[in-house]
């Protein structure tokens, strides 16, 4: 399942990059379905990066400091919610600048 989510996520990023929002609705629907299946998908792009975030694997460019931000997300963070308990299913792979 994580592989399917990753592919959808990649597709989403690609369409956004090409300024193509014609399929946003369908992507939203797919994300909604993932959510009802108990997957919480987090795209941390733009967030400031803290070393304490153990849900991402960061590739850090240059110096890591308070201004460091997540500039690119290669794979999203996926949590799985089961019986109201949340657990990390996949670490995000990100680039931090």
């Amino acid at each position: 399942m994580t592989e399917i989510i990753n592919q959808i996520f990649a597709l989403d990023i690609k369409m956004k990059k090409e300024n193509n929002d014609s399929a946003n609705r369908y992507l939203d629907r797919i994300y909604h379905e993932f959510e009802t299946m108990g997957f919480q998908i987090v795209n941390p792009v733009g967030q400031s990066y803290r070393n304490e975030m153990t849900d991402v694997e960061a590739n850090i460019l240059g110096d890591l400091n308070k201004q460091s931000k997540i500039t690119k997300v290669l794979k999203p963070v996926i949590y799985q919610v089961e019986n109201n308990e949340t657990k990390l299913l996949q670490k995000g792979i990100v680039i931090v600048e």
């Binding site: 690609k14 990059k17 609705r25 939203d28 629907r29 909604h32 919480q40 987090v42 803290r50 070393n51 304490e52 975030m53 153990t54 849900d55 694997e57 960061a58 590739n59 850090i60 460019l61 240059g62 110096d63 890591l64 400091n65 500039t71 690119k72 290669l74 963070v77 949590y79 919610v81 109201n84 949340t86 657990k87 990390l88 299913l89 996949q90 670490k91 792979i93 680039i95 600048e97």
Partner: protein, 829 residues
Amino acid sequence: MKTINFAIDLGTTNSLIAKYDDGNIKIYNNPLGLKQTLPSCIAFRGNRTVIGDKALDYLEKDAENICMLFKRKMGTQDTYYVPSIDKEMSPIELSSLILKELKNFVNDEESMTSVVITIPASFDTIQSNATKKAGYMAGFKEVVLLQEPIAACLAFANTSSIEVSDKQNWIVYDFGGGTFDVALVEVNDRELKVTDNLGDNYLGGADFDNLIVEKLIVPFIEEKLGIANLWKDLKSKTTNFKGLYFELLKIAEEAKKELSHYEETEIELDIDINGDNFFEQFVIKREQFEDLIAPKVEQTIQFIQDVIKNNQLLNSQIERVILIGGSTYVPLIKKRISEAIGVEVNSTIDPTSAVVHGAAYYAGSKPASVSQDVLVVEKEEDTVDFKLFYEQNTRDLEELITGKVASDKVSGFRIMRKDGGYDSGVKTLDDGGFSEFVPLLEGRLNLFKIQLLNSALDVVKIIDTISINQGSYNVQGQPLPNDICMEVDDLDASATRLEKVFAKGSILPLRKKIYKTASKTILQQSKSNLIINIIEGKSKGLPSSGLSIGYIEISGKDLEEDLIKGTDIEIEIEVTESRDLKINVFLQSCDQEFKNVFSESERAISINKINMEINTVLGDVEALIKTNNSEENFEYSQQLETIRVGLIETQISASLINDDDISDAKFQLDDRKRKLIQDFDDLTRNKLIAKEIEEYKDTKSSLEYHLNKEENERYQEKYARIIKNEREVINSGNKYLIRSKIKELDELYDAIIQSSDENFITYFLNLKFCTEFSNQRRADKLFKQGDQALEKQDYKSLRHIVYGLSALLPDYEKEKQRNFKDDSRTGLS
């Protein structure tokens, strides 16, 4: 006799922990993250110590405060000076920190006193003793060492059940991410012994990834863009290609994995170079990859041949080669070894966990010499006094946890989010307390665990009760005074009902997307319509009893294409803080969107709709009056009569105004209508629900009668499943829920009845009391045939006769469905 059971693979780059449990091996996952492996790497950041994955973050920025690969220095005088804490750290101390972190992988209730730790075959006595010392420093009372190749052989032998009767020579080939080792192991019926080993500390799978980038990807980009020196530029510190090197390494790693399974793989590059987007694909064949890595692989083959030669053996005297280490997934390795040595190459065991796996087997067979009671003295953790302060409910994505600890024993703390998404690392207390901002996962209950540690970083106390709810206000924020619902069709009951969108008490603003299917086809230009009616009121009540706060009619003439039954309808509903309602409807089959914003001051009301609703309720009121009159329940029917008269008056007034009337007459009417229907609802709801519950119980008991028969035992399981949440359903006070349960029971009942012809006897006898047959003459004839069949015990024929009689009975359901006319439906289901 108690055995050691726990085993640790204390690796140069990665470490693992496992447990032997009654024949099974459990390898523990890092609770922070998902991997079994813990990178053997530690970052010292002044008052904070980070161990494992996250320590790697500081590799570039702060290399002097990062310690890794210290296993290579075990048993030497060398120490690592760490400027940020102004302290010399010995490889033993560093290793003990890794061991302590691995202990964290194991559940808190497990007490670990004894452990097996693996060491390379090349470790001498001093190095071995250093490893033992690290184990004691980490709090173990007993440390047993085991050589890694032996552990690998044990893992192999125990999973493949091989009988070894005479002396054999095995080779263990260990090709990891950063190191390479080869060991010659002598095996006989009693023992395993490492006789020789060789290795290279700077040869690993990471070299393969770099080769793919350097020799395949970079030349491709250079050629396409007509640039040069890209490889050099990528790795330079002052590069223009920020992040590209990492991105390409990731792509290369993926390609490497693909090529372990497939003959070729396609690399897709979608990257930014000098501000321009570069989007190209190209194919890498396995051959190309193999040509690339062949020299490295040959190097490793040479090591095997050297080991064999050094021990005066011939290739033919080697029984098998066992592959471990992540890089051995590459098929070329297996192929080249079997070509060069000419023996069976075994890759059945998991290359990453084989060592810890085998070590755990060993631990499971090795008696522990330290008993549990030695530890009792140390169980004084509950004496630590502490106080915590934090918000339990918040809308922020970060929250402050503050703590005060009144104990001299505690000098550090560590906060972890239980889902694995956050770890503060080990930090020192500041003036007996701490304050830490923790990130929260949106819309969820976030659970945290705090460890209090002493100066040797041993856990003294675990606080396990912290939960912070993200997404709810503590005090401020406007709650909804009523449920907000949407009217949808209930095809089973042939009526419409309310579906809750937002529950009473939810905090504004609210937003939700609902996905529905069209329950009818609406042709272009037809008069048929789709109704989106958003209602504020009790979700358990009748749709017409609530206040309609947003109403959209989409009719055939609004459509650009036909709306087909069964296609998706997406409805986005938003209530802002100022209580504006926004509805956004998207019809998938028409690819058309309708937007509407309502604010309470301009309520949209349709006379048509008022009329329709009154008609529906009026029918029910009249039917109820009739039954209550016949039951001589006059007081009750008088109350109903008042409602009936009120409804009719409202209807008459409604017929006197036009739909485009601009006075507030419409609103007055709507208010009156709602009031009346609410009265009706209140008067009947409890009765209705009581009736449904009664029916539920009846259905259940008649079903149980059949279930208790021996031949129906196989239905028990299904029955148990249906009634599992019975109490919840009955207490819900929601008749639709109860109804759906009854329906499930009915279906099971039918299935049981139809499984045997004899069950139709009772049916047949019951039918004799019916008087409502549409064709009495035909019914009489069937009864006569039935009696004969009964006499002859011909139950099969009886069954068909029952079917025939049932067909003559009036079908109330169909009748009701016919009355559920198109224009009283919303078109949503």
